[in-house]
């Protein structure tokens, strides 16, 4: 089947959704997704971030679809034409969804543990409005203890229900779900501190915002201060792949997560033992540094690719070719390692 998304044609197998087709093409046409998670069955259709405009239904029925459709749950048809990035209606709808999501989600990125790897932060950056029109009181929830490994911050939850699907599909007993209706909906447990399943930690990985965070890592560091490394170990827990990303600060493993792809989806789920209990370097075989997508904040100061020298034209203009002055203000040749009597202190090399 041939599908065209934003003018780019691609051949896909029957049963492929528009979102999957867009991800095959890649680039700017890929709709954002907050609730869809390809590794979990039955997700998608809820957040409405991935709405697209189907301008031609198929070869057999070329009529455009009257309403915007959720690309994550709408199957491709042969000859279908879709506008994602190139549709004003879609841009408006995504802007609206972003605004709706930010109504009750506090803008506390500076103190949120998810800052730097938050899908809502990225969505807001791409599609958000400069000013918020919501002036009413925000919805708040009482703090709730759901277990010793995971911290639930319900005020930040956007009810994408990915964690509920994790509980349904990965754990042997369902101990949490959605309570109440409408904007009072909340993720909660029937019994306090009930989440203790061996795979429950995956709820943290699938959470697109900072509603579910790792108690062993909470407030220890910002993610961009950590260095991510691919690592693995021989894990004996059935169902665990043992392949992880270690988030290190020096030689200290501060956090362990599953490995994620460019859409922030895990490649394979891991067990709680790997995630929470193995924080010693000796527990792991470290494969090497982990590469993330180019625009990720996690990549700040961690360029793995080849970088070209930047020529600053303004400097040339200001100095008008006076290279002698340039030398005077340049720090390039100054050795600013701390030294005592010309020797480096404790062998440390700064810079």
């Amino acid at each position: 089947m041939k599908v065209t998304i934003d003018g780019q044609e691609i051949e896909v197998a029957p049963g492929t959704t528009i979102l999957q087709a867009a991800r095959m093409i890649g680039g700017e046409s890929v709709p954002p997704a907050m609730c869809y998670y390809s590794k979990l069955k039955g997700t998608g259709g809820k957040c409405r971030c991935c709405l697209v405009d189907v301008t031609k239904g198929s070869e057999a029925d070329p009529r455009p679809m009257p309403k915007l459709v959720a690309s994550c749950v709408t199957g491709c048809q042969d000859g279908m034409e879709v506008a994602s990035k190139k549709s004003d209606r879609v841009a408006e709808a995504r802007k609206a969804v972003t605004e709706f999501l930010l109504i009750n989600h506090p803008l506390d990125c500076p103190v949120c543990d998810q800052a730097g790897e938050c899908d809502l932060q990225n969505l807001s950056f791409e599609h958000g409005k400069l000013q918020q029109r919501f002036i009413e009181e925000k919805r708040t929830f009482e703090p709730e203890d759901i277990g010793d490994k995971i911290q639930l911050h319900m005020n930040r939850c956007i009810v994408c229900q990915r964690c509920v699907e994790v509980a349904d599909q990965l754990t042997d007993k369902r101990v949490h779900g959605v309570l109440n209706r409408g904007d009072h909906s909340q993720i909660s447990t029937c019994v306090s501190a009930a989440i203790d399943n061996e795979f429950s930690g995956n709820m943290i990985d699938v959470c697109p915002v900072g509603a579910l965070t790792d108690k062993t890592f909470r407030f220890k560091s910002r993610v961009w201060f950590n260095k991510p490394f691919n690592a693995h170990r021989e894990c004996t827990t059935p169902g665990c792949c043992g392949k992880t990303t270690l988030w290190m600060f020096g030689n200290e493993i501060q956090r362990v997560t599953a490995r994620k792809d460019e859409y922030h989806e895990v490649e394979d789920f891991i067990c709680n033992t790997c995630r929470f209990d193995k924080k010693d370097v000796a527990d792991w075989v470290i494969e090497g540094p982990r590469k993330f997508e180019k625009d990720s904040v996690i990549n700040q100061n961690k360029h793995f690719g080849k970088t070209e020298k930047v020529v600053i034209e303004t400097e040339k203009g200001i100095l008008q070719g006076r290279d002698i002055d340039r030398k005077k203000i340049s720090m390039a040749e100054i050795d600013y390692n701390e030294k005592i009597d010309g020797n480096p202190v404790n062998g440390k090399q700064n810079g």
């Binding site: 998608g44 259709g45 809820k46 957040c47 409405r48 971030c49 709405l51 309403k67 915007l68 959720a70 749950v73 408006e92 709808a93 609206a96 969804v97 605004e99 709706f100 999501l101 109504i103 009750n104 029109r133 919501f134 009413e136 919805r139 956007i158 009810v159 229900q161 779900g177 959605v178 109440n180 209706r181 409408g182 904007d183 009072h184 909906s185």
Partner: protein, 455 residues
């Protein structure tokens, strides 16, 4: 006198019981269908009748039945949607309470047509007394041999169960109803697949409203053509209207589709005119989710024709000048009604009842309610009217199920037709802080204030 199909026998003493119902000719359609007709012939008869779904959407029932997947070989189900909860609509409970065997008869005939051996009536939990009435009626029908194995020796088996819902408006949406029936949280499913292909327990399922199913016995006893002869155009048959508000005779009425709104409003047989001598201000013709109509568009359409009680006439001109027949919740307002408060009240309902599954509905309905509450309580800002318009337009069409639209349309229509009332609330906050602000001083009397300020 209009022709009665559903409520014809409603005044017969003891019609609630099996003996009286049977004596009055009840269950004849089951006999006729099972002994003389094939299931396909029953479906054809319903198709010929032009019967449209009476739950609100108005989709042709026969066509819906014909979509059911018979090739899969999976068991099929008929589910009766008795989760009546649209504000202003109270017709289904009337049928079930006073003539329960009519629904059961319709369920048997319809189930036979669909080849369903396991059928359900899903009723909202608040209708507990009606649930008990239905349970008793089903037991009577079963004892008389109308349910169970080999009904009338035809080889057809049917079990019929009544299931009580938890009492959520969203469970009236067919896929949410199915979810609830399966024992899950009542969240709407994404369509496709439609229930006719994958419904209850992934089996082909038809979900019909109480009133729709109750019309089937008459269609089979008489004929689809006879039913199609009642009404006008594509609006065939009769319709139950639950009338409330500032009219003399509130209640449930059966009308022939095609009756003029004027006659329904003013004839003694139906509403009997306005309750007092106060002028008519607005009308919600089809339950709270449909757009409100201002006085000048109630009796006449935009084209200047008489407004009729039909699907087409009530929606004439789209939402700019029309509304919908919807579920038939006919709510009348006189000039003391505050449209802003009324809209806030509806919004409060949709906010409370949103299932919370999709973002625009979950967050947008709450936002609408909060802004409307502020305006109604004298805390509105000038930009709030545009804000309301913007919010409702962002909800409409972007949600999983029609609840988002239902929350959005009343707000849009209220702003479209009664914008000056919103402006009045915002410009004269001290006047609207009194909850009875339009009771003693109807809007028409204070309207000049807005004009004065503009000068």
């Amino acid at each position: 006198m209009g022709r009665k199909i559903l409520l014809d026998k409603i005044n017969v003493p003891g019609i609630k019981t099996y003996e009286v119902y049977r004596r009055e000719g009840g269950y004849a359609s089951v006999e006729k269908a099972l002994k003389k007709m094939t299931p396909d012939e029953v479906v054809e008869e319903v198709k010929t009748s032009g019967l449209r779904g009476r739950g609100g959407a108005g989709f042709p029932a026969g066509m819906k039945w014909s979509f059911i997947d018979k090739k899969s070989g999976n068991p099929r189900h008929l589910v009766c949607n008795a989760d009546e909860s649209e504000p202003g609509t109270f017709k289904d409970r009337y049928l079930m309470e006073y003539i329960p065997h009519l629904l059961i008869e319709g369920m048997i005939t319809s189930s036979y047509a669909l080849g369903a051996n396991l059928s359900y009536i899903y009723i909202r939990g608040e209708y507990m007394w009606v649930y008990k009435i239905l349970e008793r009626a089903i037991a009577e029908a079963k004892a008389a041999g109308w349910l169970g194995k080999n009904i009338l020796g035809s080889g057809y088996d049917l079990e019929l169960f009544v299931q009580i819902g938890g009492g959520a408006y969203i469970c009236g949406e067919e896929t949410a109803l199915i979810e609830s029936l399966e024992g899950n949280r009542g969240n709407p499913r994404l369509k496709p697949p439609f229930p006719a292909v994958k419904g209850l327990w992934q089996n082909p399922t038809v979900v019909n409203n109480v009133e729709t199913i109750s019309a089937v016995p008459w269609i089979i006893n008489n004929s689809g053509a006879d039913y199609a002869g009642i009404g006008i155009g594509r609006s065939t048959g009769t319709k139950l209207i639950s009338a409330s508000g500032n009219i003399k005779n509130q209640g449930v009425y059966e009308i022939e589709l095609g009756l003029s709104v004027y006659e329904f409003m003013n004839s003694d047989e139906y509403c009997g005119g306005m309750q007092t001598d106060r002028p008519l201000k607005a009308l919600v013709p089809g339950g709270s989710s449909v757009p409100i109509l201002p006085a000048n568009l109630i009796y006449k359409t935009a084209a200047g024709e008489d407004r009729l009680m039909t699907y087409e006439s009530l929606s004439d001109g789209g939402f700019a000048t029309g509304s919908m027949l919807g579920s038939g919740g006919f709510i009348v307002y006189d000039d003391r009604a505050c449209i802003v408060r009324n809209t806030w009240n509806f919004s409060r309902f949709y906010h409370h009842e949103s299932c919370g599954q999709c973002t625009p509905c979950r967050e947008g309905t709450g936002w609408l309610e909060k802004v409307l509450w502020r305006i109604e309580n004298g805390q509105g800002r000038e930009e709030d009217i545009e804000l309301l318009w913007s919010i409702q337009s962002k909800i409409e069409g972007n949600t999983i199920c029609p609840l988002g639209d239902a929350a959005s349309w009343p707000v849009a229509a209220a702003i479209r037709h009664f914008r000056d009332e919103f402006e009045y609330h915002i410009r004269f906050p001290e006047k609207v802080k009194n909850r009875d602000h339009f009771v003693h001083e109807p809007f028409e009397k204070v309207k000049h204030l807005i004009a004065k300020q503009e000068v």
